[in-house]
Assembly symmetry: C3
Homo-oligomer: 289 residues x 3
């Protein structure tokens, strides 16, 4: 289904026009794949994913994402960030499989460290994060949403969200799982992870994968009003509370980060896994071609 | 209420006819208390509990159950198992109290080890397990259902399910509790365990003790369709995901397994507990007589 | 909103008449701030908070509360306690801010130890505790309710309940958080704690902060019938089950109790926090004046 989402977006790639809204008083950072529109007066920024065709989390994208986030964290002006997509129909398709295929172990290790880094940065961010999920959000795309403080999804039944790794013959890392359990509870996570469930908006709301579903054209205004509500809380109280809730989960990765990298490298280097990825990537190419 | 369930079944024992359905292509293992019907083409087996009158988990039953399960695990043909009852109106009444009364400490230890073993085998099974709960399922009966990957209950308000140990003046072991918390959450488990709550199907569904409630005559077809849905997932992904979700809970018993046995033996050997069991068993005998 | 609740009660303080109901067969302990009405035949006691205007948890109140509870625990007559308020419109406004302002470190330490002690005593009490929440219940007031085995709230939309510390620029201690997570789950707690949410009865019921909402004039009869239901369970089963569910959470504070006190003392002694408390207390005085 991640594949389905990807191909759907590919079919529509010709009609994608970038939808660059002009935001009053906004200035842009000079990014390529993560557009950052800042609204200094409100103390917020909007990060728009723009890595066509499906906002895959490539090493380059991950690196830019983390650097942009770090910049915003370091400027005292900013208190909150809205995460959303600049591409129609897709929030993010998740990890870029091309980073996991036909490379050497050093590359796999570098890539995995960048994935870990993004998760750690987002999950423990001092900033208030809202995900405005305006498209399909499988696997790593869902993970980004799960790290936010609040998740709003566009009410379009074509969009689905979930950790669907098992559908692809792989397994979600334990820290994806931990984030999921923290969000929807142990039993719902156990079932959804085993089945690789991708939830349409109404079901995502019901099981707790997202906090709110709104008509697609209201998702950005809703994200702003939610942000305003959360920013009414003194930053230090909100930040200390967030840290208290999440630190044990983050520490669980930090203390075994190197082992987790080695684990990924040895798993992804297996012949059987490389073959599966080859088949999958060839299919993607044919659809694209 | 376990007592009530037991006596209800006892009253109906005369009309029990075994209900041996003929399943196309099925072969049977030569079991006595756990009928195993295999459907090689589908890669599944059905285990039917048949230990009249109430499918009590005696030492003999537990041993046969574990051996049958082990056989299925070792044959690569089988990917999933449906657990159900061959007796009308009862899934399983739980641990056989006669194994806990008037025996010596060595017997209690052997019995408890077998209970632990069944839980460990079921909870961490590589096989996909569906419980088709076609009757009352108190205490240890509920535990079996809780270890499954999916629970379907027959929509008969006479059937109830729950960990009702506190009603009998005993306490559910911590690993029953851990399994329950993983399934329905901390607060719901706290309340249900303290009160020894037995839930009718609609309530069991609402609180999350079961995943689905269906008309009684559809429970087996439903179990098969759920099984097919889960077996669409590659085995190694499903198994690794299941292990990731459950290993910490299983390890929690494994690391203190011997202490848990000693704890059980010393608890059950108390005069006060033996007296309670005596009174309870006498009542059962009178009903039966 | 704790402030709002406080001032609302202050406005009505003139009309407060004590509402001393005569309970058949009841005797009173000679308390000042926690009225204890015992019903020996039923084996229960009712503890009524009476520390006008808002049942603030002062050092004196906490001390009396713990001593009264200890007395009841030590008398074998009593198996359950109903916690409620003797003041109209307020269950408890939580910790008395005057104990945290303008005092010396030794006082802060003594106060915090008393808060810990109350939580430990209530959370691990052998007695069955029901909170009959007949008024606003922010912060520490909510904590008292959370420690109970069952929470019934009066159906008055003016009453709210929640851990709203972040609204005041402070942070709920980790053991408040642990109690909250155990009650409503990780995600709901994360959101409610960051936003300092105060829930009206219907929402409190929906999210699981309370177990039941009843018309205000039925809250005491309801508390009694719930108590009777729980006391139908043998005490030792109920107590061992409760301890099994809660011990790890209590131990988490016990093992770092001294560090938690030092942490509180150093936090509350900060100039910035003292200034915030000064501003807040001045506002309260003006409302009162």
């Amino acid at each position: 289904m991640a594949l389905a989402a990807a191909s759907r977006v590919l079919l529509h790639a010709g009609s994608r026009l970038g939808r660059r809204e002009v935001v009053d008083g906004a200035r842009r950072f000079a990014n390529k794949q993560v557009l950052v529109e800042t609204e200094d007066a409100a103390g917020i920024a909007v990060m728009k994913f723009k890595n066509p065709p499906v906002n895959s989390l490539s090493l380059e994208f991950l690196t830019e994402f983390v650097i942009s986030l770090e910049k915003l964290e370091n400027e005292k002006t900013f208190r909150g960030v809205i995460l959303t997509s600049d591409l129609p129909g897709i929030f993010s398709a998740g990890l870029d499989l091309r980073e996991m295929y036909g490379r050497n172990p050093a590359h796999y290790a570098e890539f995995w460290k960048a994935v870990q880094e993004l998760w750690l940065r987002l999950y423990m961010s001092k900033l208030m994060l809202v995900s405005a999920i305006n498209g399909a959000s499988p696997a790593g795309g869902c993970l980004i949403a799960l790290t936010s403080d609040y998740r709003i999804m566009a009410d379009n039944p074509k969009y689905t969200i979930g950790l669907n790794e098992s559908l692809l013959g792989i397994v979600a890392p334990f820290w994806f799982k931990d984030t999921f359990v923290n969000t929807i509870g142990h039993r719902a996570a156990e079932r959804a992870l085993q089945l690789g469930m991708l939830f349409p908006p109404a079901e995502a709301l019901k099981v707790g994968v997202v906090d709110e579903v709104v008509p697609e054209d209201q998702i950005h205004s809703k994200a702003r009003s939610v942000m305003a509500q959360w920013l009414a809380i003194p930053d230090h109280s909100r930040q200390l509370t967030k840290s208290m809730m999440r630190k044990a989960t983050a520490d669980n990765l930090i203390k075994q980060r190197e082992a987790d990298i080695q684990n990924f490298v040895s798993f992804i280097s297996r012949d059987s896994i490389q073959k599966s990825l080859h088949v999958y990537l060839e299919k993607l190419k044919q659809k694209r071609g």
